[in-house]
């Protein structure tokens, strides 16, 4: 006996609804089109990781280089005598640059504290240097050790990103611990990076970016995380 004509459309509707629900569930689980953010889509699985690169540089390259840094007073004297000879002997110029980079170590007494730098009278004469306490930019720290081959990455934008990460580490591990304890009269030891383009101005202290700092004669002596 055939089903009652009135119940048939309901069964058809029910079957269709169930089928639609199953299809919707399938599409939800296995979508035909998947939306991704542009930066996610652009990043391949083996993408360069500037943070990991910077951490490795901090530990494997900058740390050992700090151990071999030249005395700041000796470097200042050599640069004032003959900048080209000083660069050849104590610094390095990346590629065809006229700028020379130096990694120096020294100790001294803080003579002045400003919002973005402190002036330090260094031991061994040769006047004052200025240790940056502001934002760090550029490629000086990345390039000062000479351990990064510019050809190690096919795309130079990756090494630019690495430089920014290295600067962030400097900010976090050397400058941040210095800022709150920098006070006139306090003694400190430092390893820092300085640049010389041509000659040093006679009337201004040499500007340095600290990478390792140890501030003394304070109740809570502060020390940056050594690279």
């Amino acid at each position: 006996m055939p089903a009652a004509p009135s119940s048939r459309p309901f069964v058809v509707w029910l079957v269709r609804a169930v089928a639609l629900a199953i299809l919707a569930g399938l599409v939800w689980q296995v979508p035909l089109v998947r939306f991704k953010r542009l930066d996610e889509a652009a990043a391949p699985a083996d993408a360069f990781d500037p943070k990991a690169f910077a951490e490795r540089f901090w530990t494997d390259d900058l740390g050992p280089a700090c151990g071999g840094a030249n005395d700041v007073a000796d470097v200042l004297a050599a640069v004032r005598r003959d900048p080209a000879a000083a660069c050849r002997a104590l610094g390095r110029s990346p590629g065809l640059s006229r700028t020379c980079l130096y990694l120096v170590r020294g100790s001294g007494t803080i003579a002045e504290v400003g919002p973005t730098a402190c002036r330090v009278t260094i031991a061994g004469g040769q006047g004052d240097v200025e240790l940056s306490m502001g934002l760090v930019f550029g490629t000086a720290i990345r390039d000062v050790t000479g351990t990064i081959d510019p050809a190690s990455r096919t795309d130079s934008r990756e090494l630019a990103a690495a430089a920014a990460e290295i600067n962030r580490l400097v900010q976090e591990r050397a400058i941040a611990p210095l800022k709150p304890v920098a006070a006139v009269g306090r003694a400190l030891e430092f390893v820092a990076c300085g640049q010389v383009q041509g000659t040093l101005p006679a009337d201004k202290p040499w500007k340095l970016i600290p990478v390792r700092i140890s501030v003394q004669n304070t109740p809570s002596a502060s020390e940056g995380t050594a690279p």
Binding site: T139, P150, R157, A160
Partner: protein, 331 residues
């Protein structure tokens, strides 16, 4: 007899026609020009910009000083034209290519083709995204230069104000490196607001048009414009001068002579000096060394960029620094 003949023909066919193609291509015989000098090609992305004209002419002049016949090819910012130049250069038996790429990715195939043909390529100024194709790449530190320029920008604007950015050709790494370096600094100052960013393909005329449009939309309170090269800075300056907006500070990049002169007149705020002559001479000298047998070259040679401002402009001119030991050493 006929059988032997057939066998011989078959053997010859196997040894020649059916053999695997040679992996080492045969160099064209015409490696020496009619003048009797060996030939060097200078392939430049565009000659529609004085800076690149200086780059190409300097490379050519230095190659000629070193005893070569040098020819300049203009790719007109078109990778297809560039590919065609490479075909002609390789067929013409040139011994080396001094190359300013049109596209960091799109130009790699051309360089690989030259390498496969045994012709060394020395990239100048513009990078290709491969380290196994060119013999050497002599490149401006665009990122570092724009970081320094960004620091000067912040200083000149007192750390606050609205600005627009005019980008170069988007296919070129230099465009991104410059913008990235600039923003690495400027974005750290929240009171500096970028109100628009638009590309003008390193072209002066396009930059003029872009600046005119941007002035209409964002002119009120605009304090500065940062341009990815000096040609665009000049175009932007023209648009601003025509609109009577000499209060808007213009920043360029390249170290073009015209820009340096405008900096001396305090019409443009600053530029990044890229030393095109130093790079071009070095490329020609590398090519000469390669032809004479040297094979170990650094894959990438960075060339630092220096910021030119009204305070130090007297130290610069003629596409470089007035006292440059590198230039005199290579002249």
């Amino acid at each position: 007899m006929n059988r032997r003949h057939t066998l011989a023909v078959l053997l010859i066919a196997l040894a020649t026609g059916c053999s695997k193609p040679a992996t080492v291509p045969v160099k064209p015989a015409a490696a020496v020009a009619a003048t009797g000098k060996p030939r060097v090609a200078v392939v430049i992305s565009t000659l529609n910009n004085p800076w690149f004209v200086v780059l190409g002419e300097t490379a050519k002049a230095r190659a000629e000083e070193l005893g070569y016949e040098a020819t300049i090819f203009d790719s007109q910012n078109d990778t297809a034209k560039e590919a065609s130049h490479f075909e002609n250069v390789l067929a013409g038996g040139y011994q080396a290519i001094l190359f300013n790429a049109t596209d960091s990715d799109g130009s790699i195939a051309n360089v690989r083709k030259a390498k496969a043909a045994g012709v060394p390529v020395f990239c100048i100024d513009r990078e290709i995204n491969a380290t196994d194709a060119a013999t050497s790449q002599i490149l401006s530190d665009n990122h570092g230069g724009c970081v320094a320029l960004g620091q000067h920008f912040v200083e000149a604007l007192g750390g606050k104000g609205a600005y627009v950015e005019i980008l170069g050709y988007l296919g070129d790494n230099n465009t991104h490196n410059r913008s990235q370096g600039f923003h690495e600094v400027v974005d750290a100052y929240p009171e500096l607001k970028m109100v628009a960013q638009q590309a003008a393909d390193f072209d002066r005329a396009k930059a003029l048009e872009v600046m005119e449009t941007l002035l209409q939309k964002h002119g009120d309170g605009l304090a500065a414009v940062f341009c990815g090269n000096d040609a665009m800075a000049m175009g932007a300056y023209q648009a601003l001068a025509a609109a009577g907006r000499t209060d808007v500070k213009v920043f360029g990049f390249d170290g073009a002579d015209e820009a340096v002169k405008l900096i001396a007149e305090k019409k443009i705020a600053a530029t990044g000096m890229q030393f095109p002559k130093t790079m071009a001479r070095q490329a020609a000298e590398y090519a000469d060394a390669w032809i004479k047998g040297k094979r170990d070259f650094p894959q990438k040679v960075p060339v630092a960029v220096e910021v030119v401002t009204p305070d130090n402009v007297t130290q610069y001119g003629d596409y470089g620094a007035k006292e440059d030991a590198r230039s005199s050493a290579t002249k």
